[in-house]
Amino acid sequence: MEVTLKVFRFNPEKDKKPRFQEYRVTVDRYTRVLEALLWVKENVDPSLSFRYSCRMAMCGSCAMLINGKPRLACKTIIGNLKTSVIELRPLPKFNVVRDLVVEMSDFFENHRSVKPYLIREDVEEQENPTNFYLQTPEELQKYVRFAYCIMCGLCSASCPIFKSGGKYLGPQAIAQAYRYILDSRDEGLDARREILNSEEGVWHCHFAGECSEACPKGVEPAEAIQRLRRLLL
């Protein structure tokens, strides 16, 4: 089967404004968007830039807008898109570095600002362990789904409120705060209260629910935000 990739191109050294470029690609039932992009890069246009690494939906590199929806290129089988023209754009809400590559350092900073690590009183034990912190399977099940986050940015890119570098922390960071707060080993709710309660935090969300739909790992950030609000009240 032949399809057309219609790809957003922008090279800050050469282009005044973005343009679209089309490439014809032969695909089969197993071809994913990532493999089609790589075929173009290796055979037609080596200047096409995009991020990719693990190609198994674990590293979070290849997030982009595929036919208008935020998706991972390595998790999107072309045949399943049911269109013969596939439009590829960089993630919205982020600044474009080049072509499909966006700038993510503010996004990582948001994640850091919610103190995404176990916070406990027994610092000496935590840093020089002598015995296990027990955790039952039930306690584990409470949070583990929220720990699936691969930091790809699809949720935040789909959020109508979020803007990289803007005030709102976004669904990714808030869901990760919730992941640690829910962990039976964590005692850090109060340490995170201020940032989550602030202007940047949970009260900014309008419950569009787009984030949960966009998440490729089933994390459900919208649910995390809603439950966090109740917890913070």
């Binding site: 090279n11 800050p12 050294e13 050469k14 089969d28 039932r29 197993y30 994913r32 790589l38 890069k41 290796e42 055979n43 080596p46 200047s47 995009f50 690494s53 693990c54 190609r55 198994m56 939906a57 674990m58 590293c59 979070g60 590199s61 998790k75 089988i77 570095v97 080049r98 590559v101 350092s105 990582f108 994640h111 850091r112 103190k115 995404p116 690590y117 176990l118 034990e125 935590q126 840093e127 362990p129 296990f132 912190y133 027990l134 955790q135 039952t136 399977p137 306690e139 584990l140 949070y143 583990v144 720990a147 699936y148 986050c149 691969i150 930091m151 990760q176 640690y180 962990d183 964590d186």
Partner: protein, 569 residues
């Protein structure tokens, strides 16, 4: 050109690199650490391992350090340095506990203790796990824990290019910022190289596109020896056509392998352990089945065998194996609860690496290595499944600590601009060749040579051919390659060209080491020398580049307790 100074550099941010960074930061609040990764810090390929981490958590209760060491040494086909194995298996449980204290969501027993499962070639179940995303959860735990610290700078998407050595000591690292395309010189007192593996030398691999052997080549070019590079592991059960693993843990929970006749063929190769024999043995058995016509045509026309995961049971498949189920359903359109999954062995892991001692020191003071790129002599000729995650953690910790302590004992090095300029020129020249060959064509040629001649089965004729062809591709790379993209910002064609240079240097060392070793041991199988030969070959291969030429020499294996014996599963 920017010059950036730190006490300690960490190159690579998989499990070993992140663990090393944290340990270096723990040594002292006044130690400044620079963390360099060619991807975003949390996106290294350590996110991929599914199965788990082997560790003796409850010494004396049905398991012992002695047993773990023996299983590892037998698995290594007796090429492991036994003092190294004995020391590191004792660190493994400490790391499992430490990562638990930092938040790793280990899968648990009803009483809240950490659960474990059976893995190939381990005599008892000792593999702890976090569903089937163990590597991913460990990565996120380390990345998140790192964010607690202040005294580090992160350099996301900087590719390491050349080690700078002054007066036979570490002086710094030349790197390139992928986002700006600018060269940067890092000056530091010590470095931990933790750049991971080299799976992309082959066409069919479990490894990420970014796993291109960078650290091996950077060390080799700096005159640091590489050890045991002929030993590369093929992971038996990888989904066709993608190469994404179906974790070995499935086989620990009952999954079986079938050929085109529906026969459980492993009974003919490893009658006692069957599908849970060591990885080299299962991978060879699968390839023999395919060669002798008992394989099947899988997706994309690729020869394969079938993995029957149904004996694992629906409950486990849908909980602790949900990644496997999701991959099979979404990508292959196959439901492993009902159907068989097409699999074949894929290039997976380098047992060899930068020659380091038990303390992870290389031959150059100030240069340490950890994780897959390092070879302290733990894995020998074949690594046991689930030994790599704990080894990455343990070597990361030891190397990070030793690098930080080393840094406290020396002053900041001074490096000569001439050395830096010479190295920059080496890379800039790639852009100026103006030849006709696409780097991607050259890379495909290399992949084909490695698959055909430096794969699971090897022989003298093929390896000689491989060496010739690799050297021919190297000549084309230097004299007739064409890089079309001349932009600086995020020029991935240039980055791919740099990576191909690394891959070619590493491929040459692997083929040469494999040609010289005239025996079969662990993952290195010579059809012309099908037996292990302890009299001649119970020794490590060391390859060093001297004046542009590769010199090969050997070093005895260190044996503490276990004399080599016949290896049966």
């Amino acid at each position: 050109m920017d010059v950036i100074t730190h006490d300690v550099l960490i190159l690579g941010t998989g499990l070993a690199g992140l663990r090393a960074a944290i340990e270096a930061l723990r040594v002292g609040k006044d130690i400044s650490v620079g963390i360099i990764s060619k991807v975003h810090l949390m996106r290294s390929h350590s996110v991929a391992p599914e199965g788990g981490a082997a560790a003796v958590l409850y010494e004396g209760k049905g398991d012992s350090f002695e047993q773990h060491a023996y299983d590892t040494i037998k698995g290594s086909d007796f090429l492991a340095d036994q003092d190294v194995v004995e020391r590191y298996v004792k660190i493994f449980p400490e790391e499992i506990l430490q990562l638990e204290h930092w938040g790793c969501p280990w899968s648990r027993n009803e009483d809240g203790t950490i659960a474990f499962r059976l893995f190939g070639a381990h005599e008892v179940p000792r593999t702890v796990f976090a569903e089937d995303r163990t590597g991913f959860f460990l990565m996120r735990t380390l990345y998140d824990t790192l964010l607690k610290f202040d005294n580090f700078e992160r350099y996301d998407e900087y590719i390491g290019l050349s080690l700078i050595i002054e007066n036979n000591r570490f002086g710094g690292l030349l790197a390139m910022d992928k986002n700006s395309g600018e060269y940067v010189v890092f000056v530091a007192k010590s470095i931990v190289i933790a750049t991971g593996g080299l799976g992309r030398l082959w066409e069919f691999t479990t490894n990420a596109y970014t796993t291109t052997g960078d650290g091996f080549a950077i060390a080799l070019r700096a005159g640091i020896p590489l050890k045991d590079m002929e030993f590369v592991q093929w992971l038996p059960t990888c989904m066709v056509p993608y190469g994404i693993p179906a974790t070995e843990a499935l086989r620990g929970h009952g999954a079986i392998l079938l050929n085109s006749r529906g026969e459980r063929f492993m009974k003919r190769y490893a009658p006692s352990k069957m599908e849970l024999a060591a990885r080299d043995i299962v991978s060879r058995a699968m390839m023999i089945e395919i060669k002798e016509g008992r394989g099947l045509k899988g997706p994309g026309g690729m020869d394969c065998l079938m993995l029957d995961a149904r004996p694992v049971g629906e409950e486990r498949l849908l909980t602790i194996y949900n990644t496997f189920v999701e991959n099979a359903r979404e990508l292959l359109g196959i439901d492993p609860l009902e159907e068989l999954v097409p699999v074949r062995p894929a290039a997976h892991y380098a047992m060899g690496g930068i020659d380091v001692d038990i303390d992870l020191k290389s031959s150059i003071p100030g240069i340490f290595a950890a994780g897959e790129v390092a070879c302290p002599g733990f894995d020998g000729a074949n690594r046991l499944g689930s030994n790599s995650l704990p080894l990455c953690l343990a070597t990361g910790r030891v190397a990070g600590k030793n690098a930080a302590i080393f840094a406290t004992k020396r002053s900041m090095p001074e490096i000569s601009q001439d050395t830096v300029n010479r190295e920059v020129k080496r890379y800039e020249n790639l852009l100026k060749v103006d030849g006709s060959e696409s780097l991607y064509t050259l890379k495909k040629k290399l992949n084909r040579v490695m698959e055909e001649y430096v794969g699971i089965f090897r022989n003298r004729e093929g390896l000689i051919r491989a060496l010739e062809e690799i050297r021919q591709i190297k000549r084309l790379y230097c004299k007739d390659m064409r890089i079309e993209d001349t932009s600086k910002v995020f020029n991935t064609e240039f980055v791919n060209a740099i990576e191909l240079g690394f891959m070619l240097d590493v491929a040459e060392v692997i083929a040469l080491s494999a040609l010289k070793r005239e025996e079969s041991r662990g993952a290195h199988y010579r059809t012309d020398f099908p037996k292990r030969d302890d009299e001649r070959w119970l020794k490590h291969t060391i390859v060093q580049r001297k004046d542009g030429e590769l010199a090969v020499f050997y070093r005895p294996v260190r044996i503490t307790k276990w004399n080599p014996e016949d290896r049966r599963y």
